[in-house]
Symmetry: C2
Subunit: 141 residues, 2 copies
Amino acid sequence: MRVLDVIKQFKNKGYKVTPQRRAIINALLLSDGPPTATEVLEKARVSHPGVSLDTVYRNLNLLVEMGCLIQINLKNNEKSRFEIVKSHHHHLVCLGCGESVCLEQCPLLERDLELAKEKGYKVMGHAFEIYGYCPACQKTV
Amino acid sequence: MRVLDVIKQFKNKGYKVTPQRRAIINALLLSDGPPTATEVLEKARVSHPGVSLDTVYRNLNLLVEMGCLIQINLKNNEKSRFEIVKSHHHHLVCLGCGESVCLEQCPLLERDLELAKEKGYKVMGHAFEIYGYCPACQKTV
DNA sequence: CCCCCAAATAAGAATGTTCCTATTTAGAAT
DNA sequence: ATTCTAAATAGGAACATTCTTATTTGGGGG
């Protein structure tokens, strides 16, 4: 995944290409692990100092909607983390330190999508997380 | 499910039985749909005026952990809703109005639990939601 | 019945995220 | 190039939820 690939997706979908967006995409690609929104903000401000946190959140959400990012929901008011999509998947999340392990398979059932259709719902996405404690955090208790 | 059933569970697990807890359980049982935390607060204050919002959240989380409640995570900073457990299940949630439809089957895969075990994780729970727009909210757009 | 203390609570501060509004701007049309 | 407009932004307010700390209390043991 390159910056230009994401830019291309923005153009295809009719979204504008702003310097803030370039900076945010760059920041995401430069991170090692899945960063939090504030980590993205910091990295984005290197190339575009004025970016606001709101803009970061707005665009992270947009990228999730576009299918370019996976959002990892932690618990206890901890910051979510965002991972560039290679293939669609979900996470096993540590309640202690927030680290995550990728799960192999998306558990979304065909039956549920049919049910949604029957009920007249227009499905936009889904979320799935398994919560627990990693070996290190179990010792800390 | 009666108030006394939940009270019994509190005692079994070594938790204290406080008037606030009685009021909260009452409030949950008196609601028609799955209420939000503030709706629980309002109803609980009828029987115990002094209850604080923090106490409501603390006990709702405890009840989820105990397996007595299902938490329905909405998006966009909307309040979560809490449903008394009859049997374990998940929800199809409307992004517009927050209404939810119960899904028939929990999609948690045995394979994922094995993976968690291999990685040394102690699994505490999981979350699954499908997001979309209900028929009414599709028209509003 | 009274003491004791871990557990529970109230109140408000703090945190993560979204919303509101006035201002700016990308990119299409001229 | 210039103008125009819907989309995007910055900044701060608002919101849901959790955390911190000092105080209270349920319920077990003397």
